[in-house]
Symmetry: C2
Subunit: 199 residues, 2 copies
């Protein structure tokens, strides 16, 4: 069986959202599967000494024109959410929590959270908001809210963020397959080419 | 007549080179022409508080894998030149000098310099090296060496770098057409789409 793709993303990242709308389609074309890994970019930014894109003069302004244009280019909905860029703790913990027992549900929740946050501009900072988005997927709201507040799930997310740093992830979106790294929604075409045997 | 594209690039920038191999082809598909503007990114990096990509931990290493892969994806030659990233003063001044009287020759020289520097990994830091690359285009070596050392040409390049900053250019490559900005070799597909009427 061909190796799965590892797809790393921060819910706060608009380019992570754009990649999330495409990554499974691309993988499927090459009979590959995708493991979704929510991360928190703060740690990676610290490692590279960078600031969040939105805070960089000129580049931040450009991003606010570029990301919606990129969405129109891909033909997917786009709306800037409140509080951008958020600290996506509740959303990331909820996905990591679900991922332990039910990776399919975890991926469905991650997709639903991204669609809500960047497709419709909804707030996903609070556990209650995350639970409301998870409910149609059959996830019990009370269990989710309890999980994202538990030390065990907090630790699990922290361990996964640390594992992403150890794997060399420094941005969102980031794809690693067979040791090859692709950073950015703008590298998906090259990922597709690479999966086709392009070298 | 449709508006020309303004294409800004730093000879030190590998992604500027990659874009330079494509930009005229893309413009031609839409019956557009391209004005080439050599710039020095140092001033733009200062404005955004950024460092050269090569100096940023992790991102610099990634660039050294990404840029050659991008070149293979495009099917163009690629070689890392000595002294990367160079201060491309002589090359930029030579192009600006030629551009005053003969924009066609200036563009041909810019292309030849990029092909030498990033296509074949040649050094283009010295005026004599630039003159050797310009010679096959019928440019007199002595005149070129004198021009790149003249205060008038130095001032002309400085004025063009300042004009690029005033236009909002903060990276290489950078394309502006009808007020719309595209930053990065990875936005050429979207530029193509935009020129086709994509909005």
């Amino acid at each position: 069986m061909p190796t799965a793709l590892d797809f790393y993303f921060d819910f706060a990242s608009p380019y992570g959202y754009l990649a999330a709308t495409q990554i499974d389609k691309i993988a499927a074309r090459h009979a590959r599967t995708v493991r979704w890994h929510p991360i928190l970019l703060g740690a990676a930014l610290k490692a590279t000494g960078m600031r969040p894109l939105a805070e960089i003069p000129l580049r931040g302004d450009y991003m606010h024109r570029d990301a919606p244009r990129f969405a129109r280019y891909l033909g997917v909905p786009f709306a800037v959410p409140p509080g951008f860029p958020i600290a996506a703790l509740a959303a990331s913990r909820a996905v990591v929590w679900l991922d332990d027992g039910d990776p399919v549900a975890a991926k469905a929740l991650a997709r639903a959270l991204y669609d809500a946050h960047w497709g419709r501009g909804e707030d996903i900072r609070d556990a209650a908001q995350v639970a409301a988005i998870a409910a149609p997927l059959g996830v019990d709201a009370e269990s989710l809210v309890a999980a994202v507040q538990s030390q065990e799930v907090k630790d699990r997310l922290r361990a996964r963020v640390e594992a992403s740093l150890a794997a060399g992830v420094f941005g969102s979106p980031f794809v690693i397959v067979e040791g090859e790294s692709f950073w950015g929604a703008d590298r998906l075409d090259q990922l597709d080419w690479w999966l086709s045997g392009g070298r």
